[in-house]
Symmetry: D2
Subunit: 345 residues, 4 copies
């Protein structure tokens, strides 16, 4: 078969491992030929391709990023998007398309498969781990590893200087990275978007930690929100100019650090981990997951299971429907959050 | 409640994280008091204890090993073993025992619970990942990480010198570490005890890899075996003095390296990773798993679910019966091994 | 002898390794007794001590931070400071004091030794590496390692998204961390406080890098400054409210990222590494340096070489005068900066 | 100018960083053209070349190994070797040759320069750090890092099981890796080839360590030797068949582990680190050193400083004579070994 492949959305570790597995199995077991599209859906719309054969994927298993490039282009944002996608596939005589991406990229894929009959299968990747029906997404374990290592390092500074250290981690709409890295890093408080936090409560945890002679580490997802009243309360002193939630949240870690300092009188420092969470060599778990997803995706292609997405369930790779997996976001369950609450304070 | 805790068998990363979670939740949520037993079952038989309170577990989350010590003592190897266990529990007025261990340690626990009414629950740990009914055991992810990092490093030597590099990893009776680290490390051939290997086939993979201009890495579990005939064939030149399988297997990596060199004429080097696979800081995944196992184990104690073992199924922590989980070993399924065979050669 | 020890200034990896070496050699070879002062000079002024014996330092070699705590208290900032220092030493009948710190901590030590006859020796530590007369200070190599690892991770994001990535590293008044990590991380441009930078030139390098099909990484020390005219030029659009240089510089990485984006039209992201640069396990080099400094400091005490500081010169540990080592800062030599300029753009 | 480059001897981390620096500066500042020789001196003898331009070295800074390949071929081992070297240089119209290697590779270079007028300069690399007149060689810091990380991991196993752990590290003829990693890893005893060891003394250290409630780690260079009498004593039980020193030393770590177990009755395990010490990404220090050596080597070429070798002295890159740097080996000074002896036992 002739198969197109693209990687879309923010980059994350493990994308190349997916590509390598697809190509290795496709070429060796099925005799497939591959066409890589440059920069996600944009490359399909513009018909920009990248060579994708065994030579191209050699040595890429431990490399972060994606040899195909990526973008956040949504092919359905333009009226003739679906037609242009179909046109490009036809021009290259492609029998199928494998789409590796997060919710947005795969959401477009779901609609193209369902509404426009594009013969495609999906592979879920995002450091945010917010795609339902799969235990984990490619990239998440690596991001948790980077964040945990950073938290490990910050403990010594917190303790040597009796400071509060606030660590802002990524998590656009779900607190998975915060929850896992906070727990693994021994944070004294973890704040996630699923559970608006009470600054007063956070300050109590901080002070209780100081009484236990250790210094606190507070891990906060960059999309976590204080309970509503408090935002109004502090809008005066802290510049929170916009009603747009995204603008408001930018810098929530810095904001919280200042609030803690103001309320408790304890010196506080904020670290924003930023893009180091999505770069670099994938963890062994992510290489394993990415590789198996790639192997199963090419199988799905050969079975014509259009509109399906590879998923991890326990230790098995299964398939779910893209439409279902992109219809909602997987967020942290309240009972799980409560479970780890025993370590707060 | 008054709860005893022990860690048995070979040490592995994450044991302290289990202890910390048990104690944090037990003390804070249930008001429990804990007694740690020194060096696994041996400490119960000899009534040797170690203080185990919140102070003792503080700061231990990222530390490898076990603050309780460990041993391979089997309490049922001596006739009055069960009575002595019950005696020690009575002497300390313990209401329950939490046993953290691998197949042997937990197997003894299963019989003590089933046959002698010892009120205990189990937590599975072993870098070998060979305990059934749980997706993973504590320590496995870290061991895979160490082995993968080593394989990553060996690639450059293989390629610069056009050598075959054989890497012997642990795996007493199951090939999990070899399979996962070999796949994550981009090995060109992975040999596991579940699938006796054919040296001729291995040499063909090695030579095919050289033709592709790269140098091969062969990952082999220390319990992997060549197909039967070959052992006899080479007993003459290689000192394989004993018919005891354990003795015979000691050094299978070295043996394979020499065989490859002899048959293909390619220079070969063997690296035996050894104990670095079971030491040091646990990976974030292991800290997460260990912590959740600990939290759930103390819940099981308070629910009087004697003879149960915490288990990971997908992302949920469940409970299974110790007797069932220790009645067999979880080995690598042939279909999984076949799945990754696409990367051989 | 009876010897007091303190660690002052910002914490950094390797402090515990210095303490361990002092105590091991002092106790075993000289029969010394030690008193640790809590939180740097503050503990001496307030007479707050911490036990410091072989038991206290055991296992601390790989631990970041300082078991003594630290502070930025300057004992000479108060009129009777020197008297209080002498009073505390007399009260504990201490024959000597070992002061481990950066320029400020050691500067106070120099004056106490020279002007007030305090019998002390110094050990230089600071991630900034800005103390003269020693090749390196304790903590620097670890900080460079953390920054380099972060830059390694950011390359993949830069390339996958064709973005400019600006990395702000520490370096209060010298560009050593920026220079070493930028070179080791393969940055395309390194900006240090010793060399005011020209934003136009930076943008040219950025664009030349894109033409070479790779995406640029810009490493900037948090104290680096653009050439003077430009600050005025852009004060209008970017809020730079204060004339105080420290305030102005806060966020120079963010400022530069926006400038590059504005001028070149290329998407840009800034990562501020912050406190992870000064925490966590020391690198092997720092453990080696810290240990040898500790061993030589206790020798200096027994030789009564008051007012001296341990220093690294090549592979030898020597002694220099504290007064001289704290009279100026060691900055990056223009010829060295020029040497690495071949990699810019 | 037209410049040939080769990398010889065992591979080590940082070789590509040297190549990258040579090419970047040569092309950009001097307008040079480069020819890479495949597999060290062998490629010169056989006239086998590899493209070496800016494109070839791009992205190689963090990669271990060498893109040129390496071998241990000695060009002077064959009678017409010098002539063939000169012939190859003439055939490619090369004005100079840069030789990157250890003692053997550079020793041949020294003689070719001195006796045969080959216009060449040298760059010292070897994880063994045994080349005189330079503080460090390329690759050493990375090897120490790998060994230290392994020792860090082994501490937990030693302590959990109260075992002696023997770690055999590389060091063909000098104990530098053992000394630095042993000190940085907190070993309780370090055995190097420069100081024949007394097994009785080692056992005393081991037992004293157990009395202090910790378990011992013994670091031994693979070329370390027991004092003479002992070898004879134990030849009976341990197969030490050959009088050839190299054969005898193979496995000295295993031998020592068994001796300790036999004499003290304490369980002992040996880990042989092997080739992971010479593979993988170079440390930041090695990237810095390698890069600066490369920049200075191409300067030396343009100054016609034939027969010179780049060297590190303090923080400065200097030049020394290849003939002098290869006339002897740099071994560990007795006073330095004595200095760290305070940590033994």
């Amino acid at each position: 078969m002739r198969v197109g492949v693209l990687t879309g959305g923010s980059d994350c570790p493990g994308l190349n491992a997916v590509l390598r597995a697809i190509v290795r199995k496709g070429v060796q077991e099925y005799g497939d030929e591959f066409t890589g599209f440059r920069d996600g859906w944009r490359g399909v719309l513009r018909d920009e391709t990248v060579p994708l054969d065994i030579r191209a994927v050699r040595g890429t298993l431990p490399r972060g990023g994606t040899i195909l490039g990526s973008s956040r282009t949504n092919p359905l944002a333009q009226e003739d998007g679906a037609d242009r996608v179909l046109g490009t596939l036809a021009r290259h005589r492609l029998d199928a398309l494998i789409v590796i991406g997060g919710t947005a990229t795969l959401g477009a894929a779901a609609r193209l498969a369902e509404d426009h009959g594009v013969p495609l299968v999906g592979v879920p990747k995002t450091i945010d781990n917010d795609i339902p029906l799969t235990d984990y997404t490619v990239g998440f374990d690596t991001a948790v590893g980077v964040a945990t290592q950073a938290i490990d390092r910050l403990h010594t500074t917190a303790e040597s200087h009796k400071r509060v250290l606030v660590v802002e981690v990524m998590g656009r709409s779900a607190g998975w990275i915060a929850l896992h890295s906070g727990l693994a890093g021994g944070a004294n408080c973890i704040l996630i978007p699923e559970q608006p936090f009470n600054v007063e409560q956070v300050c109590e945890w901080v002070e209780s930690r100081f009484r236990a002679t250790y210094a606190p580490i507070v891990v906060i997802a960059d999309s976590a929100l204080p309970e509503s009243g408090e935002i109004t309360l502090h809008r005066g002193t802290t510049p929170l100019p916009s009603a747009d939630p995204r603008a408001r949240l930018s810098g929530v870690g810095e904001w919280l650090g200042r609030e803690i300092e103001r309320r408790t009188g304890k010196e506080s420092r904020t670290t924003v981990l930023g893009h180091i969470q999505r770069g670099g060599a994938p963890s062994p778990f992510d290489r394993w997951l990415a590789t198996r997803f790639g192997l199963h995706a090419i199988d799905a292609v050969h079975q014509g299971d259009w509109g399906s997405m590879t998923a991890l369930q326990g230790t098995r790779i299964t398939r779910v429907r893209l439409a279902e997996a992109t219809s909602t976001l997987k967020t942290v369950d309240p009972s799980l959050y409560e479970e780890v609450g025993v370590f707060f304070g």
